[in-house]
């Protein structure tokens, strides 16, 4: 590129400075006169401006919400295409069509392993939950689990509960490699929500379970077995 050509275009970083009013007035004039004539730099400037808008609303919290919304959307799409969930294809499609990435509850789950405790995190995902959702999980007051030394009984699972008209209890056990959801006080004639377990790891397929009523009991259980150690998001179907 010749010196003359080099001077005619505007660097992306300089465009940022331009929109931030951080350039000398003479340089602003040159840039504006160039933008009036150069389609390529105008498109670049529009992209930079779009990114400045995005940077303007960027925060850790916003990033997290966007990330998990995308994860839920992807998981719903993937689950609706999996043959083993054919029974629920209609429900999963309806979930996505009506509610998008919204859920009735969202709980982060870390399935631990030796040397790393299991955890349940109930905060930080309120924006995923649709307004007036009936579930509000909080950590249950149980002893904090630790990994058990050899020969000792396995630690108690980590539990989160939601108390309200309908109740739910979610427990995670790294040693048993399972996540269990218990739902009770469901209104007669209604079905409990589907529970979806979404792995944070890229490429892992989501799992969907419909809580089943226990014999001679009033509650429903959804059990995810053989869950590899790692981070997950457990979500409830909106109803």
């Amino acid at each position: 590129m010749s010196d003359g050509e080099r001077e005619t275009h505007v660097l992306a970083e300089e465009l940022s400075s331009y929109f931030e009013c951080a350039l000398p007035p003479e340089r602003e004039t040159i840039i504006e006169e160039h933008l009036a004539k150069c389609d390529a730099c105008t498109e670049q400037a529009r992209r930079v401006r779009g990114l400045l808008e995005m940077v303007g609303r960027w925060s850790a919290a916003a990033h997290g919400v966007a990330y998990w919304r995308a994860q839920v959307a992807r998981a719903l799409q993937a689950a609706a295409e999996q043959p083993q969930y054919q029974t629920w294809h209609e429900k999963l499609h309806a979930w996505r069509a009506t509610w998008g990435e919204r859920v009735d509850a969202a709980v982060r789950v870390v399935v631990g392993t030796q040397g790393r405790a299991s955890r349940v995190i109930t905060e930080g995902l309120e924006e995923l939950v649709r307004p007036s959702a009936p579930w509000r999980f909080a950590l249950a007051p149980v002893p904090i689990p630790t990994t058990a030394p050899p020969g000792e009984p396995p630690p108690a699972p980590v539990v989160a509960v939601s108390e309200g008209q309908a109740r739910a209890r979610l427990s995670v056990s790294g040693d048993a490699r399972e996540v269990v959801v218990r739902v009770e006080r469901i209104c007669p004639g209604t079905t409990p929500p589907l529970v979806m377990l979404i792995a944070a790891a890229e490429g892992a397929a989501p799992r969907v379970v419909e809580p089943e009523k226990r014999p001679n009991a009033s509650y429903f259980i959804a059990r995810f077995e053989d869950v590899p150690p790692g981070e997950y998001l457990a979500v409830f179907e909106p109803q």
Binding site: M1, E5, R6, H9, V10, L11, A12, E13, E14, L15, S16, E20, C21, A22, T29, I31, E32, E33, H34, L35, A36, A40, C41, T42, E43, Q44, R46, R47, V48, R49, G50, L51, L52, E53, M54, V55, G56, R57, W58, S59, A60, A61, A62, H63, G64, A66, Y67, R69, A70, Q71, A73, R74, G100, E101, R108, I121, G124, A200, A201, E231
Partner: protein, 307 residues
Amino acid sequence: MIRCGEEEDALTDRARIGDREAFDVLRARHRTRVYGFIRVRVSSDDTDDLEQEIWIKAWERMPIYDKRRAPFVAFVVYWAGIMLLRHHRLKGRRRAVELLFSELLRRFPELGEEAEFSNDVESLAVVPEPDAEEESQRYGRLLEATFCSDSPPHQLLSFGLCKLVADWPPRRIVAELSGTSLREVAVQLEQAYLEESSLPEAVVRPCFARLHDRMEFRFREVVKKKTLATHPRLADRIVGDTKLRDYYTGNPEQNISHWSQSVQRVVAGAASQDDNEETRPRVEVHGEGIAKKRDAGRIRNGGHHNE
């Protein structure tokens, strides 16, 4: 009659009292620049119509133009800003309104007095939620572009604290973190980002890893010459051992704000290049693309980088 090369003051004086011919000469002289200002702030479909409306508005407002306050072109750009704000508000573009509002305030600090100038976004329709996948990817790219960039670590940390995590205004940073090593501040920032985002560690930690690596190098190995010239006494200090107060060059709170804004500009520019590698103009780029730099040669050559 318009004489060739008539001074701008004379033209504006005549336009103020209703001389349309004088106004048209002014318009012809400054049209290109005003058009350039408009077209990057609206879609291509709206540019030409808006341009017409803006010149109509400028003509209507000529009687109040005061050449002692600003050049004629600044007067037109001022009204262009007002009209653009109105345009975005009518379209319900809340974020465009907010960005344009803050930009116009920087250009024209007295704008707050103007009745037509308002950051009232409450009346705007709720902005439809953006596509989740695209939004998530963009934030991920921004995070990577930021903490993998070559911006000086003290600036990155200032940006992260001021902008990305809650409750760390410059005042608090100065009061509570000035004497903390950059290494510890980086750890705190990363942890705060993890907690507030609820993101998996696998998403966040790789983005901060390069920042942590840079903490172990000497200052002169990780900053550009311009930054080194501003802080010569830090040249051979290990970055992680330095403190924010070692970088203050005046009012600490202003330093922190300025560093944060510098990084913000760099990030938007770098991310826009990543956004569209194929269609960007063949521009001269100073060094390599920022987000693509992973292991700067000068760091390896410094002999401190262990693989």
